[in-house]
Structure formats: structure tokens, C-alpha cells
Symmetry: C2
Subunit: 380 residues, 2 copies
């Protein structure tokens, strides 16, 4: 059996206000092409199809069309679960009919224990759940934390294990030992909501969703596919793609197939001057999404507008070393500054910002204006 | 062919703040029971399955469960369309799969022209649409109003007519000549958004949705089923139910099957005293929803709270004849009133409200207090 493992589509997601519809649509088409080329026997989507529990109509139309294409047009079996970003209730719409064409989309914990039975493989589809759901399902209030709940869930799954078959699990959670990036939700922070990886040891492969980087967990038989698209600057260095899982081999053979974005998400650290004059630099695709860090320390008037002329899709802009003016002012106390004459303050300020002294004419204007201001009169 | 015609479920609707989930669930079960008893060959739902374009999760779960029960559990073919209250995009979720079990749910105008082909009948499912949709579909900007657009739509449908079969249409709009009630949307007000009934003449039966009363249109071969539940006081007098349509007869034979609410919606006009003492009246089910009109003309302290002790589900409360105090004051001008002494005003006011004069002790207190107030002192 050859399966394609993807997750965390997050349809509807934006990158600091930038629409990612085209990126997500394009990544989907690459996934579809890989599935066809590899002639996979099915596609696992390990949760977070949507970015929000209440998706926009445009997102609903997009996910509907994607599932339709994979399952009804291309005739791929699909094995999917809801993630913590999905509304399990809304995602459940239509699922009783989907099974007829081997589209399995599980959204309730109760569906986790009856595997999809293939000739040589059992696929357990465990949607995202919270300890409370396990307490309800097992009628057991002692399942206070996710690790306890998940241990109980795996025990229950094992009761259905057919020893003559391989056992696959699709699930959506934070496996202990994995590193988080800042585009996942707060739910992943802290140890409470983590699942110890040893609970996954009884499966031949665990197709995980939740963390967006494929290297977030290094276990031979459990992997995050990561998201198909970079959703934050913290994912800039990540390679995006899908796993091709060959279950005919023991251990299962994993091959990572990369996805190429239309516009990449990149971090760039350089001086304003270099950046502004980088238009001919073949190493830079100026249409990418950029997190720019300036090495300059002086103030730069209109800096964002001027940079956006060269890099239209700036996601964030920051300074590597702060501002030199701040450094200079560290030598003067508030008391010292307050003792200075207004004209001295003005001259110092102008020089710091403009990097040149006032001209004699400017100084004359300033003096006249200051005098009028102190006398309460109007400048002429 | 025997079909059940229902419409305007409006799942998620509330009646002046009262939850109608139980009423709607119960009405659904009655519809299901009628379909089974009548052994119908299919169920037409003529739009407005949801009350809102963005339904709550609980509403989504309810509609999902209802469609699943009719189609997958009871194996009824279902012929449904989206109404103006539905989000066509959200309602489209799963529809490509639904067809496999003869659940046809059309949400786009483009789906209106290919009928569902049964042995002796063609069913055209025309979702709610606006003139703009028709302009787009036909690439014809001249279709400015719904009557023009609908004429074009019917012309297009007729091209697919099989003369050897009966022709049924399910649609959701305001047919001219029908009477509106105030629980439909403003879209139905005025002639612009109406469809002339003569456009419906070429169909053997038109199963309409949009208006909530079954008597809103009297055409032999076109009917509103009305909503299964009363959604406003203006529907209090309506008989709710579904049509059983027998297409084997010419003209089609229509039988109305009534639905019985758990708690009815009723108008009640009586005196406060009668109503408060009506607890033993067998003609009144005090758990119904009531629009109460009081015949009293005097003010009644705490009137709503006292009535709610007897009628817990009061929807509205009004007066038939206004207040008698208002009538009395019509004889006095503002100028006349302002000339009265404060003590006279107080005595008159008390008498009007309490229907009895001040006692000597009350009058003494009032005089003392008025004197202190006019002197700016504090009452002792």
C-alpha cells in the first residue's frame, strides 16, 4: 500500500493580512499531481482542513471542491480527520454519504475505534479531541489530561487490531518531544496537552497533523507531514511537502516529496541601502513574502513605503541593532536634557535625525519662531 | 408517483427569543411518519432548510441528522433546493456525494435545467436565485427583474421537457397573487421580486417554498406547503402541514396532512382578570405561545410578571383600547395642568393610578413632604 500523508491545510488562513488562496490552491494541485504520479492507494489528511471553526463561504467552497476533486474526479480513497482548527460539527456535514466512495472523514472520538479495513492494513482515524471528550466516551472522570486520555484511546484501538494486518493511525495533536513553531495555537504550549511518543509505538505508521514542520518529530514510524504552505515567518526555513508512505516494507518506507510555493516566505537581513538597490540581484525573488531585518541603526524616513516599492510583500520589518540615537541618548539623563536651552535641544535633535547641522538660514527661522512662541505671538 | 411536499424548515429559528428546537424536531418526526405511512416515493423540500446563512453548529447538526435519517435510514429519495435564508455555498457541502443515494440538493441556478429523471416524471429543482444570477448564467443583462429572469429560466427548462412525462418544479420565491405574512423577509414585499403565476402553468405541479401559509396561493397545480412550525404570531391562525402529491392523476391530486405542534402559537384577547383566573379553563393550554391583547384600559402594576405566572410563554402583550388615563387627559391642556397646585396634581395622579383617593394620613405625608421640598429641606 502506498499512501500520501498531508495535513494542516488551514484553508482560509492569511499571512499577516496577505491572502494565501492562490498559494493554497497551487499547493493542492501539486499534492494532487504527486498522488497521481506516485499512483498512491489513498490520501491521508491529518486534520485542520480549515483555519477556523467558522470558515468563510469562499473557504467552504474551496475545501468542498478539493475533496470532490480527490475523491470523485480522481477516485482516490481519502482518510481524513478533523483538527483543533476545524469545527467537528460543521466538517461532519455529508460524511455519512462520503463513505460510499471511500472518503472517510472522522470528526468524533467515537469513530476512532473502528478502523477502515483494507486488504492488508487497518487505518484508525482519530480526530482531534480533548480530555473531556474521552471522559464522556469512556464514562471515566479520571482521564484528566491528554496523555491519560490518549493512552486509553490507544488501548481501545488495540482491541480491534487484526494481527495479520499493518496498523496505521492518523491523529492530530502535539506529540511530546516535538518542537513547536509560533503558528500553531497555544494549545500546544506546555506539557499538559502533549502525548508521549511511546504511546505511538504499536502502530506501523502514525500520520500526524498539528505541527507545521515535517521535522517536528523524529520517530521512525510517526511523522508530521507539516503544512503544504508556510503560514508564518517561523516556518521560513522549513521545507514543505508530503510524505509518501509505503506500507509494504517493514519498517514502512518514507519518502518526502517537496512542494514549491508560487511565492516563498523568507527572512532577509541587510542594510536599507543594499535592499533598495537589490532589484537586479538574481538571488532574490522580490515577489516573495519577506520578514526584513535592517542592519541600519539610523532613522530612515518613510522606510516601509520605500522598501515596499522593491519588496511589495513585506510581512514584518525590524531592526537588528535598534537605533543609534537611542545609544547616544543613554549618556544624557532626563535632568541634563531639561537643563538645555530650547534652541540647543532643537539643533541637537535635527542633527541626530538629519545627520547634518542646521543651515544658518534654518537656524535663523528656528530662533525667530522660538522667540515668537515664548512670547505667545504668532509666527509671521 | 406519490411525493411529500414540505418547505421552510428554518432550522435555528427562534420565536421572540423562545427556542423552537423541540417544536422543529417534533414536526420533523411527524413529517417522517407521514412519509412512511403514505409510502411516498420521495420528499420535496422547497428551500429554507436553515433560518440563517451562517447557522449555529447545533442547527448544522440538526439538519445533517434530518437529511441523513430521511435518505440513509429511511431510504427516501429527497428533492431539495436552497432558499433565500440558506447559504447556497454552505448548503452545497456534500451534495456531489448525496446524489448516489437519490438525495438531490440543488443550490445553484445552473443545476435547475437538468431535471431528475424518474420513470414517468421529470423533477426540476430550481434553487432561490436573484436576477443577477440569471444575468450571469444566460449572459444577458436585460434580465433586470425576477419576472423576466424567471420567464427565461422556465423557457430553458421547457427545452428539456420530455412530453411523455409529467413535469414537476420545486422553487422558492414569492408568486404574485399570494398573500404575505410578516415572518418572511422584506424581499417578498412589493411587486418587483414576485413571479407571475402564469409562468407556472406549464408544470403539472409546482412545489413552492418561501411563504409560510399553505393558503398563500390558490392555483390548482402550484402550492406553498407552508412551514411545518408557526414562526410568528401572524401565522397563529394557519394550519401547518405537508402536501401529499399524487402525480398519477390528472390533474395531480393534492391532500394536505396536518402537523400538530407540541405547543401552539395563539392569539388571546381578554381582560386581565379573566386571564389570571383562567387556570382551570379547559379551552386554554397555558403552555402554548401566546400573543395576548388585554381589553383592560386601566394601568395594571407588574402586568407581564403576573401574566407569566399563568402563561409562561407570552410572546407579545398589548392593549386593545389603550389606557383610560390617556382618554381622560385629552380634556386638559398642558397649560391647564401647569396651573394646578402640586398637591392637586399629586392627588389626581394617585387617584388615576390607584383608582382610589389618598387617605387622610397619605395626604398629610404628601403635604409635609411637598412643603419640605419647596423649602429645600430634607424630609424628616
Amino acid at each position: 500500500m502506498k499512501l500520501l500523508h498531508t495535513a494542516d491545510w488551514h484553508i482560509g488562513r492569511r499571512l499577516h493580512g496577505f491572502d494565501l488562496t492562490d498559494e493554497q490552491g497551487n499547493a493542492f494541485e501539486q499534492i494532487e499531481a504527486i498522488a497521481k504520479k506516485e499512483q498512491v492507494d489513498g490520501i491521508i489528511i491529518a486534520g485542520d482542513l480549515y483555519d477556523r471553526r467558522l470558515p468563510a463561504e469562499s473557504s467552504v467552497a474551496m475545501v468542498n471542491q478539493m475533496l470532490q476533486r480527490l475523491n470523485l474526479t480522481d477516485h482516490f480513497p481519502v482518510y481524513a480527520i478533523s483538527g483543533n482548527h476545524d469545527s467537528a460539527t460543521r466538517l461532519a456535514t455529508g460524511t455519512p454519504w462520503f463513505k460510499q466512495t471511500d472518503l472517510f472523514l472522522h470528526t468524533a472520538l467515537s469513530q476512532a475505534f473502528k478502523p477502515v479495513e483494507l486488504a492488508d492494513t487497518q487505518i484508525f482515524l482519530c480526530p482531534y479531541f480533548e480530555p473531556f471528550d474521552a471522559q464522556q466516551y469512556f464514562d471515566d472522570d479520571s482521564l484528566q489530561h491528554l496523555d491519560q486520555a490518549f493512552a486509553r484511546v490507544v488501548d481501545e484501538m488495540k482491541k480491534a487490531f487484526d494481527p495479520s494486518k499493518k496498523h496505521l493511525l492518523a491523529a492530530h495533536f502535539f506529540a511530546a518531544g516535538s518542537s513547536t513553531t509560533d503558528s500553531e495555537t497555544n494549545l500546544t504550549v506546555g506539557g499538559l496537552a502533549a502525548v508521549p511518543t511511546d504511546l505511538l509505538a504499536d502502530f506501523d505508521y502514525v500520520a500526524l497533523g498539528h505541527l507545521h514542520g515535517k521535522n517536528a518529530l523524529h520517530m521512525r514510524q510517526a511523522r508530521y507531514s507539516g503544512s503544504p504552505v508556510k503560514f508564518s515567518l517561523s516556518e521560513a526555513a522549513q521545507e514543505k511537502g508530503v510524505w509518501i508512505v509505503d506500507t509494504d516494507q517493514t519498517p514502512v518506507k518514507l519518502t518526502f516529496k517537496t512542494l514549491t510555493p508560487i511565492h516563498d516566505v523568507k527572512l532577509l537581513t541587510d542594510s536599507f541601502d543594499h535592499l533598495i538597490h537589490s532589484t537586479d540581484d538574481p538571488a532574490i525573488d522580490h515577489d516573495d513574502y519577506f520578514g526584513i531585518t535592517l542592519t541600519d541603526t539610523q532613522p530612515i524616513p518613510n522606510v516601509m513605503a520605500r522598501l515596499r516599492e522593491v519588496f511589495p510583500k513585506i510581512v514584518t520589518l525590524s531592526r537588528q541593532d535598534g537605533f543609534s540615537t537611542q545609544v547616544r541618548y543613554q549618556g544624557e539623563s532626563g535632568q541634563q536634557i531639561r537643563q538645555k536651552a530650547p534652541m540647543t535641544l532643537l539643533k541637537d535633535f535635527y542633527e541626530q535625525v538629519a545627520k547634518e547641522p542646521l543651515t544658518p538660514q534654518q537656524e535663523k527661522w528656528a530662533k525667530t519662531t522660538l522667540k515668537q512662541a515664548s512670547e505667545g505671538g504668532q509666527p509671521s
